[in-house]
Symmetry: C2
Subunit: 108 residues, 2 copies
Amino acid sequence: MDNKNSISKIKEAIERSNEVLDALADLYKVFADATRVKILVALTQSEMCVGDISEFLDITQSAVSHQLRVLKTGGLVKSRRDGKTIVYSLADAHVRTMIDCGMQHITE
Amino acid sequence: MDNKNSISKIKEAIERSNEVLDALADLYKVFADATRVKILVALTQSEMCVGDISEFLDITQSAVSHQLRVLKTGGLVKSRRDGKTIVYSLADAHVRTMIDCGMQHITE
DNA sequence: ATAACATATGAACATTTATTCATATTTTCA
DNA sequence: TGAAAATATGAATAAATGTTCATATGTTAT
């Protein structure tokens, strides 16, 4: 049957791009937490140090630090040292695009 | 200080859109699993019944059914009955856009 | 050098999540 | 009607995840 055939073609396509799709899921995972989303949206407005984020999200400095590590490992933020503090900012324009894309789905 | 001031402005903005940002994180959560991503990408190509998906992803029918429920609750897929089988398809164009957006980040 | 400050890290704990197994539900067809 | 087929559901289990607490690391200024 033709349907059977096209299904198996799709199966092959999915299997071929298996690693990419795993990576895609991993990317979404980084966005899939309210704390991290809020950090990212905040960084959309301005670069910020850990203390600032901790204060305005009302969560422990430690929790922020842990989440920033997830974001950095995921390639969504970068950091630079400025004296005693460490300043975080969005890694690139893609991050903004991803957020906008999700926002559009929400506020359709 | 001006920086202090702008931080508190961002804090207020984040607090105002608190529910939206929670919803945004929840939306990403639905995408944040390899099985679900593969189901979605497959449905990008063609509508499909549970058995087909189960077969070509090599996972239990039950697992597929559970994940389809997550996708449906999240508003990403819809279903219709066709005889004994139930056919699933993408809920709307936004889903495709979200996937493309993530893909672009991966394969930059 | 040392005290004070900012951030990072590791272990522990509670919560969430994905899968499997067994079974229920719904529809078709003989 | 009753058996077979397709899907859904609930309980159980294992794995992953987010936060907190305590502490380590690294930087500045005295």
